[in-house]
């Protein structure tokens, strides 16, 4: 028999659960998302903006905000670095759900845009009168990669970091290799050069792309080489995975050979293996030029199955774009700021300050003086016009994770058949790509 106090306790617990359930269900009935919530696109007034915490980008961002604010005192920008979190995308996603996303984020990863759009967090830039035309005039054909399935722009193509191979000239020389003309253009050459580097003992590994399971790591091993091998084929075309073909198999087999022969490390390196001399090469974009200030390095395009003219080599873009978020009250001002920040003048300042490539067509000719004065960046300026982006849509991260899981197993850790593994991943990705 239960005592009255036990009964009372049970009643209190039951009441607490009921209250919690009530609150939960009430919460469930509210909220929402999905689709665009563009609202009034002409409202003007103060806006807030987040930019990356990269020091060079911060320097450019602060001058841009200052320039805008001094010319537009009634439409001031309040800017800050993206709040700390595991990743910028998670912080932005949380802000969208909470309804406190800023008007503009100048560091929006294309892989996250599909989800943000599904959440109802982004404004369709094509809804602005000059939205699509401004984007396409600035970026040319490259802009189309950033459209959603309906041909709309929910992201502003801003800047890219075309991925190439950096190599340490001093380590190459120590290993008896020609540091000015390294043999890295084909898979065979790359393997032979890598073996020479490791066998000579100048570095534990020839190259060390992150072997971890994060979805985005495929952008720095498979994607650049697949883009180069196929002349710019995206991972998904017409809703179907493309990579389970001969070119994809060859790329995967190349990397598997690198791991099998211990020329690339299977274990995560704590720090920057290239900067620390633990790897003689790195696969990165121009953002790294200022980071590797203390390293005597050169750069070449990523390898291809057969020798290819560098002017024809494609790669992964490693782009970051600008999102205009639906929580913004003064969307008219936000759009004007976006255009101001991506004007020819500000793009030039961005290029000078950060060394990253504005996603602007004819970059080498528009900023010819800059590239003449900075020949290290010339190749990147040229490469910027031949870049491939991650697939769009709300399931991009799922798609990339499915690929990464297969890649980790068969390529990095050498389990099972590489070809079959890519085919299995492609089958799974076909399903994911067809899901809303």
């Amino acid at each position: 028999m239960q005592t009255p106090s036990v009964k009372r306790s049970k009643r209190i617990v039951a009441a607490a659960v009921a209250v919690a359930a009530g609150i939960a269900l009430a919460a469930c009935s509210g909220g929402g998302g999905g689709g665009s919530s563009s609202g009034d696109l002409t409202a003007t007034g103060p806006i807030d903006l987040w930019y990356s915490n990269n020091p060079a980008e911060l320097e450019w961002g602060k001058q841009m905000v200052e320039a805008w604010n001094s010319a537009n005192p009634d439409q001031k920008i309040t800017a800050q670095e993206i709040p700390a979190g595991k990743s910028s995308e998670e912080v932005i996603g949380a802000a969208i759900t909470a309804g406190n996303a800023p008007c503009l984020v100048l560091n929006t990863a294309p892989s996250a845009v599909g989800q943000f759009e599904k959440q109802g967090g982004l404004v369709n830039l094509s809804d602005f009168d000059d939205g699509a035309s401004y984007i396409e005039e600035r970026s040319g054909d490259l802009a189309k990669q950033y459209q959603n399935a309906d041909g709309d722009y929910y992201q502003f193509p801003w800047k890219s970091n075309p991925v190439v191979i950096f190599y340490n000239k001093d380590l190459f020389a120590k290993a008896g290799l020609d540091p000015e003309n390294p043999k890295l253009s084909t898979y065979d050459d790359f393997l032979v050069t890598s073996k020479t580097l490791v066998d000579s003992g100048v570095a534990p590994y020839a190259i060390q792309p992150a072997p971890t399971s994060e979805f985005f790591q495929m952008q720095f091993d498979f994607m650049p080489l697949y883009a180069a091998a196929t002349g710019g084929t995206p991972l998904i075309e017409d809703g179907k995975a493309t990579f389970a073909d001969d070119a994809g198999d060859e790329v995967a087999q190349f990397w598997r050979d690198m791991y099998d022969q211990k020329l690339a490390g299977q274990e995560q390196y704590q720090g920057d293996a290239f900067a620390d001399g633990q790897a003689a090469m790195a696969i990165v974009g121009p953002w790294a030029i200022s980071v590797y200030d203390g390293v005597n390095f050169g750069s070449v395009p990523v390898p291809t199955p057969e020798a290819t003219d560098p002017k024809d080599v494609w790669t992964f873009s490693d782009a970051k774009n600008i999102g205009l978020f639906s929580a913004c009250k003064n969307k008219g001002t936000a759009w004007d700021v976006l255009k101001f920040a991506t004007s020819q003048e500000q793009d030039g300042k961005f290029l000078e300050t950060t060394g990253q490539m504005p996603l602007r067509q004819d970059l080498p000719t528009v900023y010819a003086d800059y590239f003449a004065a900075n020949p290290d960046y010339q190749a990147f300026g040229d490469q910027a016009s031949r870049t491939v982006e991650v697939p769009g849509g709300p399931n991009t991260v799922q798609i990339m994770q499915a690929f990464r899981d297969a890649w980790g197993k068969s390529v990095i850790f050498g389990e099972g058949d590489v070809k079959q593994s890519l085919q299995d991943a492609a089958d799974k990705i076909d399903q994911l790509a067809s899901q809303p």
Binding site: I12, G93, F413
Partner: protein, 328 residues
Amino acid sequence: MTSAVDSPGAPAPARAGAPGPGSTAPASGPRAKRRLSHRIFGRQPLGLLFSSPYLVFVIAVFAFPIVYSVWISFHDFFFAAPGANPERPFVGLDNYINAFSNPAVIRSFGNVGIFLLINVPLTVVLSLLLASALNKVVHARTFLRVSFYVPYVTASVAVVAVWLFLFNGNGLVNTVLGPLAPDPSWLINENLAMPVIAIYVTWKQLGFYILLYLAALQNVPKELYESAATDGAGRIRQFFSVTVPGVRPATLLVLLVSTVTGANLFTEPYLLTGGGGPNGASASPVLLMYQLGIQQGQPDVASAIGVVLVIGVLIVAFIQNRLVGERD
């Protein structure tokens, strides 16, 4: 008639409880109201007032998220901006089927099972042994206690760096082992990654459990040890016949807490093995919940995993309570 002649100071059960078999007339008037209020709020309504902040805390921080996540797990749900109104239809068990048809999810539950099998017994045995030893130490007692506690209060991110330095391919452990070092190395070896994590977590949490046992040891009467010694029991016999039964409530607590925290394993595979590697050999359910729910925008599937995990932990805790808990 009810026992209406009770004085105001009469025992609470007579008034707060339901009327007995002899009850006849329905209560009415102020007395009935008082009885109703007693039935709802108890004899001391002020007590409820005092405990209400904690009740609110429990509802807001524990009950609400649990109920909400159960609701999410039965609906087609994704996080959305305020003002947008997506449809969130009831999908029955679809999210559960989706989650558990994914081999990675099944494997993660197996991984955490391996983790618990290593971590929980090791935690109980080591912390009890070390607490018993520390209880007898006279010199440098505080220093030793603090030494064991320091890893517990140190941020995992910082301590993980030390373990990476120890256990990576070119790390100290492999250097010492030389040709005996495993290949592939510890953290990229499918058979060793999870055991290394389990040992790491055991080491890191040990200080907290030692403190629990030290507190429990203070309540074991000295007379019991004296009686056992009089009866001829040696140190080992005393340990098993006096200490172990004497700290049984603490053992149950250690079992429950280490199981619950172990089932929530996230930081260590996230940092130590590069996101649950190699090949998902150290991925935990919570790590997958993070990947699915936060990174991949499938909080509904992640919630289904979470609900099953909670049920699993409750079952394990129930069994532990039955096996180790006091039966009197």
